[in-house]
C-alpha cells in the first residue's frame, strides 16, 4: 500500500500524500466491494460444484462455456433478471435492508485481511477482535430478514441460525484467544510476523476449533441447518428472490473466502512462504505477487478442505449441533487456552524452538485427553447427543 502511495506521488508530483492515500484506499475498497464478490462467487461456485461432483462421482457443470466455466456468469445473469417479490405483509424497509447488511457485514471483514505483504486495508491493532465483532452485523441481518418476511418458517429458521451462529462464535473467539496469546498481539501483521513456525503446527487444537467454528459460522454442511429444506423450507430467506436473494448468496461465498483467508493468516502464516523475504524482498513487486500467490494457494486449500468436509459428512441435527458447540468445543477450547497460557510461562521453555515443541505437545495432549473423555462418556452414557459428537454410533 505504502509503495503504491509513493509511486502515485512520483507519478503526479502535485499530489499530496493524504490525497494519494485516499485514492489508493478508494481503489482498494472498490476492488474489495465490487470486484472481489464477482470473482469470488464465480470462482468458488464453480470450484465447489466441480469438487462435489467429483466426490459424488458426477461431472458437474459442463454446458456453459468450456468445462462449464461460464456457469457462474450465467447464474449471475439469471439472478439479475429474476422478478423481485416483496410479500405484502412484509416489513418493507427492514426486508430490503437485511440483504444489504448481510453483504456489507461480510465485505467489512476484508478490511483486515492481509492478502500480500503490505497489502491490507487497515492493519488495526484490534484486528482479530474486529473480525469477530463485524460478524455480529451478519447475525443482525439474518434476524431482520427472518422477522421482516412475516413468515413462520423464515422466523423459525432465523432463530435457529442465530442460535447456531452465537453458539459457534464462542469457540471461535476462544480459538482466536489462543492465537492472540501465542502471538502477543491482535494485529494481523504482527500475528503473521510471529509465525516463524505456522501456528497450524504449534496450535493444532486452535486450528481445528477455528475451522469447525468457521464452517458453522458460514453455515455450510455439515452445519447447514439454515437450509435444511426438509425441515424449514429454505431458511430465513425463503421469501427472498432475485437480486436480494443473490446478496445472501454472495454473502455466503464471500464469507467462505474470507473465513478461509483469516484461517490462512492466523494459522498458515498468511502470505509467508519459501524465498519470500530471503531471496525476494517483500517490498518488491515480485515479492508482493509471490506473497499473494502463497496466500491464494493456502486459502484455496482451506476452501477445498471445507468443500471436502461438505461432500463427505451428513448434516447435524440441531440439538447435536448446539451440543457439539457448547459441550465439546467450548470446554476443550478453554482447556486449551489454559494449557497454552501455562506453557508460555514455563521457565524452562525459554528458547523459541523448545517453546514451539512445548505448545505442540500441550495441544496434542489436550486433544487426546478431551477425545478420550468424550469417548468414555459416550461409552458410558446412552445419550444420543454425545454419540453424535464422537460418531460412536457404530
Amino acid at each position: 500500500m505504502d509503495a503504491t502511495v509513493s509511486w502515485l506521488i512520483n507519478l503526479i508530483p502535485q499530489m499530496t500524500e493524504p490525497v494519494a492515500r485516499l485514492i489508493v484506499d478508494l481503489v482498494y475498497a472498490g476492488a474489495l466491494a465490487f470486484v472481489a464478490p464477482v470473482v469470488v462467487v464465480v470462482a468458488f461456485t464453480y470450484m465447489e460444484r466441480k469438487v462435489i461432483a467429483r466426490i459424488q462421482d458426477r461431472v458437474g457443470p459442463n454446458r456453459a462455456g468450456p468445462f462449464g466455466l461460464l456457469q457462474g456468469l450465467a447464474d449471475a445473469v439469471k439472478m439479475l433478471t429474476k422478478e423481485d417479490i416483496t410479500p405484502q405483509d412484509a416489513d418493507r424497509i427492514v426486508y430490503n435492508l437485511a440483504p444489504a447488511l448481510a453483504v456489507i457485514g461480510v465485505i467489512l471483514v476484508y478490511a483486515v485481511l492481509p492478502v500480500a505483504p503490505g497489502v491490507i486495508g487497515a492493519d488495526l491493532n484490534v484486528g482479530v477482535l474486529y473480525v469477530v465483532a463485524v460478524g455480529g452485523i451478519g447475525t443482525m441481518a439474518i434476524l431482520m430478514a427472518g422477522w421482516s418476511s412475516n413468515n413462520k418458517y423464515a422466523l423459525l429458521s432465523a432463530f435457529r441460525v442465530v442460535a447456531q451462529l452465537i453458539s459457534y462464535e464462542i469457540p471461535m473467539i476462544i480459538a482466536l484467544l489462543i492465537v492472540v496469546l501465542a502471538a502477543g498481539s491482535m494485529q494481523m501483521g504482527e500475528i503473521i510476523a510471529a509465525q516463524d513456525v505456522p501456528f497450524l503446527f504449534t496450535l493444532p487444537l486452535a486450528f481445528i476449533i477455528f475451522l469447525m467454528a468457521t464452517i458453522a459460522e458460514i453455515g455450510r454442511s455439515p452445519f447447514d441447518l439454515l437450509e435444511a429444506e426438509s425441515e424449514i423450507v429454505a431458511g430465513f430467506h425463503v421469501e427472498y428472490s432475485g437480486m436480494k436473494f443473490a446478496f445472501f448468496f454472495i454473502g455466503e461465498y464471500m464469507h467462505l473466502f474470507v473465513g478461509a483467508g483469516i484461517a490462512t493468516t492466523l494459522f498458515l502464516g498468511g502470505w509467508r512462504g519459501p524465498f519470500l523475504g530471503e531471496v525476494i524482498s517483500e517490498a518488491s513487486i515480485l515479492g508482493v505477487l509471490l506473497g499473494f500467490v502463497y496466500f491464494l494457494i493456502k486459502t484455496v486449500f482451506i476452501v477445498f478442505l471445507m468443500i471436502w468436509i461438505r461432500g463427505t459428512l451428513p448434516r447435524f441435527r440441531i440439538d447435536h449441533l448446539l451440543d457439539f458447540g457448547w459441550k465439546f468445543l467450548v470446554p476443550v477450547g478453554l482447556l486449551g487456552l489454559i494449557a497454552v497460557a501455562l506453557v508460555l510461562k514455563l521457565p524452562f521453555l525459554s528458547s523459541s524452538g523448545l517453546m514451539w515443541i512445548g505448545l505442540l505437545v500441550a495441544n496434542i495432549l489436550v486433544i487426546v485427553v478431551s477425545l478420550a473423555a468424550v469417548s468414555m462418556a459416550a461409552r458410558r452414557s446412552r445419550s444420543v447427543a454425545l454419540r453424535g459428537v464422537v460418531g460412536a454410533d457404530r
Partner: protein, 118 residues
C-alpha cells in the same frame, strides 16, 4: 495523525454502494408482474394462518444469554492475552481463575439443562 480506521470508514461507504448499485441495475432489467398469490406468504403451498406469531421457546433466549456472558469474557481475556507476555507469573493465575469461574458458569448452565435442546 491518520487513524487506521479511515479505511474502514471508506469501505463502509463503498460497500454500501454495492447493494445500491446491484438493486438499481436489477430494478432496471427485471420484470415486475405482481399478483396476490405471488405476494402471499410461502408456506409450502399451504394457506398461511394468522400472523407469524408463533410462541417461541425460551430455549433460544438461554443460548443467547450464555453467549453474552462468554462474549464479555472475551472482552476481558483479549487484553489479557495481548499483554500476557509482558506480565509476571501471577497473570497466569489471574487468567486461569477468571477462565475457571466462567467454566463454572458453563458447568452450571450445563448441569441445569439450560443447554439441552428438548
Amino acid at each position: 495523525m491518520r487513524s487506521d480506521f479511515v479505511f474502514v470508514g471508506i469501505l463502509v461507504v463503498v460497500a454500501t454502494l454495492l447493494p445500491v448499485v446491484g438493486l438499481g441495475v436489477a430494478r432496471l432489467i427485471r420484470p415486475k408482474k405482481p399478483n396476490p398469490v405471488k405476494l402471499s406468504t410461502y408456506e409450502c403451498g399451504v394457506e398461511s394462518i394468522g400472523d407469524a406469531w408463533v410462541q417461541f421457546r425460551a430455549q433460544y433466549y438461554i443460548y443467547a444469554l450464555v453467549f453474552v456472558v462468554f462474549d464479555i469474557e472475551a472482552v476481558f481475556l483479549l487484553p489479557w492475552a495481548v499483554a500476557y507476555g509482558q506480565l509476571p507469573l501471577y497473570a497466569l493465575v489471574e487468567g486461569v481463575v477468571f477462565i475457571l469461574i466462567l467454566a463454572l458458569a458453563l458447568a452450571y448452565a450445563w448441569r441445569k439443562g439450560a443447554l439441552r435442546w428438548s
